[in-house]
């Protein structure tokens, strides 16, 4: 096993160009579980911690976007300026693991692993994030919906990696809610991110399908049938919840049941919608 310690994005590109099989290591909160628990033996490792560019974020006031380096730890998203700019991401970051995990784990890790239960991913989905990908052929931007293509599957090409994530700054409300069987430090059994502006709503569902699922029919129905400036009534909420449930494609596993997950995303979406008016 070799470990490379690049200090720039260019070096990372070169390393991966020469060795497409190399394993990227950022916070290690997924990889080290693979190594220690599942006996994975990574051949060559490219450790990203010294690539300072990946650990920074920036605000583009003219385009009204924020770009977050793939190596920025969740702890940095929880509070401060970034939390003010993207509050749903702050709420999601707070639910990730323990303080130690949040100090190490990154959005790049969530995107690299692409688990449907990844806490950052519903935010990226609901905000229609662009994933900034770099590779030997230069860089490209991929819509989140095109990036995550299956359970633990993304559309990265060999030798490509995620440099950063670009999110729009949204006028209006955004929030995240997540159900687990413990009040903290738990993997999502179901989660929802809801983003609402004056004429738009986005609902992204986590841990209820092979990818993050956008409840597009529920979104369209709400915008078409509800006066977006006023809080929803009971009937609206009920139909909205039903449509969100319909959008989910959950499974039974050792963490929960499909029936509960389907129920939970409906409840969470209704509550987030209500909360968005409070």
């Amino acid at each position: 096993m070799s470990v490379a310690l690049p200090t720039s994005v260019g070096e990372v590109v070169d390393l991966l160009a020469h060795n497409p099989e190399a394993t990227l290591l950022a916070g290690g909160t997924d990889l080290m579980v693979e190594v220690n628990l599942h006996g994975r033996r990574p051949g060559d490792v490219v450790a990203l911690h010294r690539v300072s560019e990946l650990r920074t974020w920036s605000l583009d006031t003219s385009r009204r976007t924020v770009t977050i380096g793939s190596g920025v730890p969740y702890a940095e998203m929880e509070t401060g300026e970034l939390a003010r700019l993207v509050p749903a991401l702050a709420e999601a970051a707070r639910t990730v693991g323990s303080p130690q995990i949040r100090a190490a784990g990154t959005l790049g890790g969530n995107l690299g692993t692409c688990s449907p239960a990844g806490d950052g991913l519903p935010i990226l989905s609901a905000l229609d994030a662009l994933i900034d990908v770099v590779g030997p052929n230069g860089q490209r931007q991929v819509r989140f919906a095109d990036f995550m293509v299956g359970v633990k599957k993304n559309s990265l090409q060999p030798s490509e990696f995620v440099r950063s994530v670009t999110l729009p700054l949204v006028e209006g409300w955004q929030g995240y809610a997540k159900v687990g069987t413990r009040n903290a430090m738990v993997i999502a059994t179901a989660s929802v991110c809801l983003v609402r502006s004056i004429d738009h709503v986005a609902v992204a569902l986590g841990a209820v399908g092979p990818t993050i699922i956008r409840a597009t029919e529920a979104e369209r129905w709400l915008v078409a049938n509800h006066v977006m400036s006023s809080p929803p009534n009971v009937e609206t909420l009920s139909e909205f919840g039903r449509m969100v449930r319909e959008a989910s494609r959950p499974i039974d596993d050792h963490r929960s049941t499909a029936a509960y997950r389907r129920h939970a995303v409906g409840v969470l979406a209704q509550r987030l919608l209500t909360r968005s008016y409070s």
Partner: protein, 758 residues
């Protein structure tokens, strides 16, 4: 006129918050746990386990593994020099499953290797080829009871069947309530994983084992038998133990480690990771309990009927004793004259189950306390009132015919708990961390309903059914230094501190050295069954008293005083009838005294075929009141407060008592709402702390504890064990609170979110 002045107890003596000798090191990270042990020239060991819950081993091929550089030895069943079996009650569990024989649970050891590096071990295990003939696992205990399952083991598929029949079976209640209850498989989940270091004697005919265990001498007995060595050739030293809760009563890696060391002639260490730990030790028995209570219209229990089935998994471990604890505690801390109880502990291809804090009583208590709330509702009586109405007292007869001659302050426990103020109502805009869902921000104030629930329990202490689980202690004075020695496993409970408190109090000294905890002194029995304060505390006390008697005799002779008039006052020896006073330190400076004493509890009896007999030594009682906030629509729970009053006899160290209570409540909360080993068709699906959920700080409630101090005359120090009671009735208290908040029946624990809301 008599004026008596009671001076406060001297610092570090009984009744004070004496500090723990291991406390600072543990907090600062300097304490050496068993997994920190190390020896020059040491090898690492690792264990190959069966992936199948039920299969026949057709062949084992170790040729490829032997060829790996750094592999020093590979051992299989044929290499076990003594008995290829161990077990606490019957020896039915093989050290390694043998070619031609069966593996009976997923995780059963098949081979062990020793190599120069843990990674070499891993590669060697992967290179061992085992061919299996795989069978459908037997996972339904009822199939075993009915005799329909294939025989898993030559000893049969039923570990024990025991009935309790007492009183008038024709009695019927005006009010009858019944329920089917289920308790999931809980793990002890100690933080200090299994680890051992074995160092072979230079001649290769003996071994020294540094081991995190609960009972050094029992381990030694079983290890020596498997190694084919006389017991004196197997010396055990207690390694630093990071929690036990019953999971270290059984043999896990002990024999494997010693065998590898003896075969290689080099020190060998085995240390389990978290995943292997789930397969390496026994768990709490999952159980199904049917219970029916008959009562008068005004709520007095007149008869209890019950059927209990404990799934013991593949090997016996302590299943027969767990069963007896379960069925003999059917009535809970309540009066009951008539009962019919039928109990089974059975063998399946599920993970082996054995001791865990509460030992069978947890399961029974969950059922009887669920029943008490049902009975209260059926009679239209408050849940507290119905418990007070039926509360047991000293002198009452249990359904086994045994008279409760312990202090039995059940009513006091309930009343003292009820007197603890309820927590304030949830504020209008609560912090997300204070409500169900916690950091997931799932709920707002309007989604939450509050519930209150009660649980009260009785728990036996010490071993039962005729077992003489004595303890031994040695106290020496040499060159003015007091040294206490015992084999009592310090697993985190603080016995090392208590032993010093006892010696300081009895002997009037401040400095007490503790000798190494090992097998170079007689057995202390197990650190379990809430027994070490009583038993080993009794032994240390007796050894110190024996030494003190000699000190007094010396003082009496030397100063020409009546020995009967001498007493310890602080750190002096005084003549209670005169003015003589001398510092203990001066007296003992030139004395050499060495006393070893065994402490035995009064004998107990076996149960007869009707479950009658004085099978238990003594009992302790506790009441719990849980306040929970529930989000009924999502089924999420936040336990807000647990109030408790516990019968402890006498508080010997207030801080340690509170520690036991808070820890036990967290563990009982775990069983109530989240902790479960999920087993499907014999396979564990969540062997990690990612998916086996323990309560975090956000899940742990505020604990308000009161201690009921009524000196227990049967106990050598007047104190009862405090370890198990905190985790027993808190589970049904929380379940009853969730029922109170939601109106749901909730017949099983852990209560899963979908049990509440779907």
């Amino acid at each position: 006129m008599n004026v008596s002045v009671v001076s406060p107890p001297r610092s570090g003596t009984l009744g004070t918050n004496a500090s723990r000798p291991d406390g600072v090191a543990k907090v600062q990270g300097g304490f050496a746990f068993s997994s920190d042990t190390w020896a020059e020239n040491m090898l690492w060991g690792a264990t190959l386990r069966s992936p199948h819950p039920f299969a026949r081993i057709v062949s084992i091929d170790v040729t490829a593994a032997w060829k790996i550089d750094g592999v020093e030895v590979i051992v299989i069943a044929d290499d076990v020099p003594g008995l290829n079996a161990y077990g606490l009650i019957v020896q039915d569990q093989p050290v390694f499953a043998k070619v031609g024989d069966l593996v009976r649970y997923s995780g059963e050891p098949i081979a062990a290797v020793a190599a120069d590096h843990p990674e070499t071990c891993k590669r060697a295990l992967e290179a061992i080829k085992v061919e299996y003939e795989v069978f459908d696992p037997v996972v339904d205990p009822e199939e075993c009871i009915a005799g329909r399952a294939p025989e898993i083991h030559p000893h049969g598929n039923v570990f024990r069947h025991q009935r309790i029949v007492t009183g008038d079976q024709s009695v019927e209640g005006d009010v009858v309530v019944e329920g089917d209850y289920e308790i999931g498989m809980q793990d002890q989940a100690f933080l200090g994983l299994e680890a051992a270091l074995a160092i072979p004697d230079s001649g290769g005919d003996g071994v020294e084992l540094y081991i995190a265990t609960q009972w050094l001498h029992e381990d030694r007995k079983q290890i020596a038998a498997c190694l084919g060595l006389p017991e004196e050739k197997v010396r055990l030293v207690l390694g630093g133990v990071g929690g036990a809760f019953g999971a270290r009563e059984d043999i896990s890696l002990q024999v494997h480690t010693c065998l590898l060391a003896l075969r290689t002639g080099r020190p060998v260490r085995i240390a389990y990771g978290r995943e292997e730990s789930f397969f390496g030790h026994v768990h709490r028995h999952p159980a199904r309990i049917w219970m029916r209570h008959h009562a008068t219209r005004d709520g007095r229990i007149v008869k209890i009927e019950s059927r209990m089935v404990f799934d013991g998994g593949a090997y016996c471990s302590t299943s027969p004793a767990v069963l007896i604890n379960g069925i003999t505690h059917t009535q809970g801390p309540y009066k009951c004259d008539n009962a019919l109880v039928d109990g089974y502990a059975v063998r399946t291809n599920n993970p082996p189950c054995g001791a865990m804090r509460g030992f069978g009583v947890v399961q029974a208590c969950y059922a009887h306390e669920s029943q008490m709330d049902k009975l209260a509702a059926a009679c239209g009586i408050d849940p507290v009132e119905i418990r007070l109405l039926n509360a047991m007292e000293t002198g009452d007869r249990l359904i086994t015919g045994q008279v409760v001659d312990s202090v039995a302050p059940v009513e006091e426990c309930i009343r003292a708990t009820a007197a603890i103020p309820l927590p304030p109502d949830l504020e209008s805009d609560p912090d997300f961390r204070d409500i169900p869902g916690g950091s997931g921000r799932t709920a707002d104030r309007s989604h939450i309903r509050r519930g209150i629930g009660w649980g009260v329990s009785i728990k036996n202490m010490m071993y039962s059914e005729g077992f003489d689980d004595y303890s031994t202690a040695r106290c020496r004075i040499s060159n003015g230094v007091v040294t206490v020695k015992f084999a009592t496993a310090e697993v985190g409970q603080g016995f090392v501190m208590l032993a010093q408190q006892i010696a300081r109090t009895v002997l009037g000294v401040d400095e007490v050295l503790l000798d190494t905890i090992d097998t170079q002194v007689g057995s202390a029995g197990s650190t379990s069954a809430s027994r070490q304060t009583w038993m080993s505390g009794g032994a240390v006390n007796a050894a110190c008293v024996a030494v003190r008697d000699k000190v007094m005799a010396h003082v009496a002779q030397y100063h020409d005083l009546e020995v009967a008039n001498l007493a310890i006052d602080g750190t002096d020896v005084v003549d209670t009838r005169g003015n003589f006073r001398v510092a203990v330190s001066d007296v003992i400076a030139h004395l050499e005294i060495d006393e070893t004493v065994e402490y035995h509890h009064p004998p107990t009896e076996d149960l007869d075929e009707n479950g009658q007999g004085n099978c238990h030594v003594a009992f302790a009682f506790v009441a719990h009141r849980a306040v929970v906030d529930v989000d009924p629509e999502l089924g999420l729970v936040k336990v807000v407060q647990v109030a408790t009053a516990q019968d402890v006899g006498r508080v010997l160290n207030p801080l340690s008592c509170v520690g036991q209570v808070e820890g036990g409540i967290a563990q009982g909360l775990g069983l109530a709402v989240m902790e479960e080993i999920v087993v499907t068709n014999g396979k564990v699906r969540n062997p990690s702390f990612t998916d086996y959920l323990l309560p975090t700080f956000l899940d742990a409630p505020a604990v308000e504890a009161v201690f009921i101090e009524e000196f227990e005359p049967k106990s050598p120090l007047g104190a009862k064990g405090v370890g198990e009671p905190p985790c027993i009735s808190v589970t049904p208290a929380i379940a009853n609170a969730i029922r109170n908040a939601t109106g749901r029946e909730l017949p099983r624990v852990p209560i899963r979110p979908y049990d509440v809301c779907l």
